[in-house]
């Protein structure tokens, strides 16, 4: 009996503390609200002051800017470490901490000059030695994929502001690729570190509109503004503090935004949630475009799929408008060619065969495919059914919906598709290792510098060419496109490449996704950039966001 009494007593105690805390913390929450309001009051004369709380989906994988490899990390690391180039609103790479790079006429020398007066957060000036150090470490220790961009390239630093790169063959996107993807670290700090690859970088010192002052993994990351930042309209960021809070569950993140626990999401939100926010007077929703795209890749080693007639008919059977409206709730754009519509310049009329069910049926009939056993599915001359398995990652809801639309689309022309949802790692294994697949629905996360990146996807020797595409004419065009110096040459090879690939159809691009971001409209001044990497949480944007009076 005594024991039970003790239990009951403890229970009462615990419950009473909980009741107590819900009261006192309500007061706590109110205090927080006051803080924000105070910020507004002090900013009556200007836009300065206040805190923004940003929802993300995870902690950064690491705070090491040289090895960090995920999007959640890049939102934070890009605010505190600089790159030579940044993205502009149209998806072009433009100078960030440098002046416009000078490329010599033969395309073999690239001269980069740093902007004046930039300093690391500890006061040391940023010099070309920092770039030299970072690129050297990157290359020697193979820290990230972009080390390969530096293959066969040498460089020197004639003075503190200049770095000159010498190339063995022209590579016009060299500086945009390495410049955009590689963060620069201060040499005077990092040259002291023994094992850079496994360095956790617990107390980052970098350059950007904010500096990391306090964090607790899994909980929050608090950044405070710096005194001087050249991209800010009034010399320094308006916001005093930026707080990142990770929410692994997207629904919880949306709820936190609704309730005011956070002010904006760095991660895109589902289209249904975006619609709800659009109807609210408290929130604004903006939409940006992905730099990658959703596609249906085809295994060309398959005995049936290697017939271009089947691939052409499949391309003609796909109704992309259904995919846009039903799989992506309207938040996507149809993709008719191999280059995303984001890159306007390369939309030169070379498109995959467009939606035409009757035309598709005719192609199959002419190629000798008939339904000989009357089961509604066409048969090859050897009697085999035109039936294919299409795999997709079961964690991606949109791909599951795409698969259902494709099943219907293909049924209309007599081809059977069997959806095969699976774990992403199993799908990856089939694509890269076993090759045991027929069709797959996938996403390319970010395709930038299309002049050079097409070769990493479709070159016969590329490791990402799981399709097994092998066309010497296309190979040649892709390689020449990468090194073409003049615009005319680039366009010429781009045209050849596009014509070959839209004829061969190793891969059927479907749509370019649009991402929705919502923010509390007491904030103003966000700059929206393409891709899920940037969205509205990037150095350009946060250096000018302020709280509306």
């Amino acid at each position: 009996m005594k024991r039970i009494l003790i239990i009951v007593l403890c229970l009462t105690l615990i419950l009473s503390t909980f009741v107590g805390c819900s009261k006192s913390d309500e007061a706590g929450a109110n205090n927080q609200g006051n803080e924000v309001k105070n910020g507004e009051q002090t900013s009556e004369s200007s836009k300065f002051g206040g805190t923004i709380t940003i929802g993300t989906y995870a902690d950064p994988d690491t705070l090491n800017p040289l090895t960090g490899n995920d999007i959640a990390g890049s939102w934070i690391l890009n605010l505190i470490y600089p790159k030579l180039m940044k993205l502009d609103e149209n998806g072009n790479k433009v100078p960030y901490i440098i002046e416009e790079p000078e490329i010599s006429e033969d395309g073999l020398t690239v001269t980069v000059t740093l902007k004046d007066g930039l300093k690391w957060q500890d006061g040391t000036p940023i010099t070309s030695k920092d770039i030299d150090f970072t690129y050297r470490v990157l290359y020697e220790q193979k820290l990230q994929w972009q080390y390969e961009v530096l293959n066969n390239i040498t460089w020197e630093t004639p003075d503190d502001k200049t770095i000159v790169f010498r190339l063995q063959e022209p590579f016009p996107t060299f500086i945009t690729t390495i410049g955009y993807w590689q963060r620069i670290v201060p040499a005077h700090i990092w040259s002291e570190i023994d094992d850079i690859k496994n360095y956790a970088n617990e107390n980052p010192v970098g350059f950007g509109p904010f500096k990391l002052t306090e964090y607790e993994r899994g909980q929050y990351y608090i950044l405070e503004r710096v005194d001087e930042f050249f991209l800010s309209p009034e010399g320094k960021p308006y916001l005093e503090k930026v707080i990142f809070k990770p929410y692994p569950d997207i629904n919880t993140m949306v709820l936190a935004l609704k309730s005011g626990d956070i002010d904006v999401t760095a991660k895109e939100i589902p289209a249904t949630a975006a619609k709800e926010f659009e109807g609210s007077s408290e929130f604004n929703v903006v939409q940006n475009q992905d730099l990658g795209y959703e596609h249906l890749a085809i295994n060309l080693r398959d005995p049936l799929l290697k017939d271009v007639n089947i691939r052409t008919a499949m391309a003609m059977a796909i109704d992309r408008s259904q995919i846009v409206n039903f799989a992506f709730d309207g938040a996507a754009e149809e993709m008719p060619g191999i280059i995303s519509p984001v890159y306007q310049k390369y939309q030169i009329g070379n498109y995959f065969p467009s939606y035409d069910v009757e035309g598709a049926k005719k192609i199959l009939a002419d190629a000798g495919y008939k339904d000989t056993d009357n089961d509604g599915i066409l048969n090859a001359p050897n009697g085999e059914n035109l039936s294919f398995k299409v795999m997709f990652a079961n964690s991606i809801t949109a791909h599951e919906k795409v698969s259902r639309i494709l099943v219907d689309n293909m049924k209309a022309i007599g081809i059977e598709l069997i959806p095969e949802p699976m774990d992403k790692s199993l799908q990856t294994d089939k694509l890269y290792n076993t090759g045991d697949w027929q069709l797959t629905i996938n996403t390319w996360g970010a395709i930038d510098d299309v002049e050079s990146s097409m070769a990493t996807l479709f070159l016969s020797t590329a490791s990402l060419n799981w399709m097994g595409y092998n066309n010497p004419v296309a190979d040649d065009a892709m390689l020449k496109m990468k090194s073409a110096i003049t615009e005319e040459e680039t366009m010429n090879f781009m045209d050849i490449f596009q014509k070959e690939i839209t004829k061969d159809i190793p891969d059927i691009p479907l749509v370019v996704k649009k991402n929705n971001f919502a923010y509390n409209n007491k904030f103003e001044g966000f700059v929206k950039l393409p891709s899920i990497l940037e969205g509205i949480i990037n150095p350009t944007s946060l250096s000018q966001v302020y709280i509306r009076k």
Partner: protein, 319 residues
């Protein structure tokens, strides 16, 4: 007794060795590998191979296994592939939060579940018993993320009296305010986790109370003219507790399963959420570390409950 304890501990060590071996190979049986999962349109095959080398995954499996054992003996759980930090540090950062969540959940669940079970066993077939049974079974079959999210929606958003996720508010450190803030963040995750485990305690206790109440010594107690409540709480409940204590020990392992879902929904910075993330990234060292700690705690809890039961019930030792 000493012999029994030694035997039990030796058994525990063997179990532990088998568990870590299984863990090591099971995580590596996952299709693909952590480097391939990182592949993107700009990464080459050469870089993929480089990553595998960095992760130590280029060596034969058996070599990897022995170097894993060697490091484990030194107490070194390795370095996380993705975070590049010692796994021990990462786990130690998360473990206190999970322990806090679990201890409080276990405690409240027992405090509520055992009396409920005893009473409804006693009132077998009554309306009270039926309601308790229905609620317990409802709790066991509910989908945890759904329950968590519904609670968040009602108490975090609609009523706005509890925070939406997290373990504490940034900026509040130390003192009573911190203590209360942490408590407030615990309420909803605890209720959610309780829904899964409450039924276990209620039903186990109820079942064994029903068994015990038909024993001879209860009849004796009643015939001595003892009050029914005293029979129930003093004589019956003590003996009815043995199976419940055993389940409490086993529950630790099961709780972690619930923690993965609960911590993810509530953005709670514990071990469950860490496992969730490590699985999707195939961060083998973190997974191994997490399972080692889990296996260890389940094994130790089992040894303790076994010894406890042997002490309570001498028949066990003899078998």
């Amino acid at each position: 007794m000493a012999k029994y304890i030694t035997k039990r501990i030796l058994k525990g060590i063997v179990t532990f060795l088998i568990t870590i071996t299984l863990t090591f190979f099971i995580v590596r049986l996952m299709p693909a590998d952590p480097a391939t999962l990182l592949m993107d349109p700009r990464m080459s095959e050469a870089h993929r191979q480089q990553l595998l080398k960095d992760f130590g995954l280029d060596k034969p499996l058996i070599v990897q296994y022995f170097s894993f054992l060697r490091n484990l003996l030194k107490g070194d759980l390795g370095i996380s592939f993705m975070q590049k930090r010692p796994v021990m540090d990462i786990i130690m950062e998360k473990l206190p939060w999970t322990l806090l969540l679990m201890t409080i959940t276990q405690f409240i669940t027992m405090a509520v579940g055992i009396p409920l079970g005893i009473y409804s066993g006693h009132k077998r077939g009554s309306l009270f018993d039926q309601i308790v049974n229905a609620v317990a079974i409802f709790g066991i079959s509910i989908f945890v993320p759904w329950l968590g999210f519904t609670l968040l929606y009602i108490f975090g958003y609609n009523l706005a009296i509890l925070p939406i996720g997290g373990a504490h508010t940034p900026g509040i450190d130390g003192g009573l305010e911190y203590f209360l803030d942490v408590g407030k963040h615990l309420i909803l995750p605890v209720i959610t986790l309780m829904s899964i485990y409450l039924a276990n305690y209620v039903l186990y206790t109820r079942g064994s109370v029903i068994d015990v109440l038909s024993e001879d010594y209860i009849r004796t107690a009643r015939s001595k003219g003892m009050k029914e409540m005293r029979v129930l709480w003093k004589h019956a409940s003590k003996n009815a507790m043995i199976p419940t204590v055993t389940t409490a020990g086993l529950m630790i392992g099961r709780m972690v399963g619930g923690a993965v879902l609960t911590e993810t929904v509530f953005a709670y910075p514990g071990v469950g959420r860490m496992i969730y993330q490590a699985v999707s990234q195939q961060d083998f060292p973190i997974l191994q570390g997490a399972f080692i700690i889990l296996a260890l705690s389940v094994i130790i809890m089992n040894i303790i409950t076994d010894i406890l039961c042997a002490y309570l019930d001498p028949r066990i030792k003899l078998e």
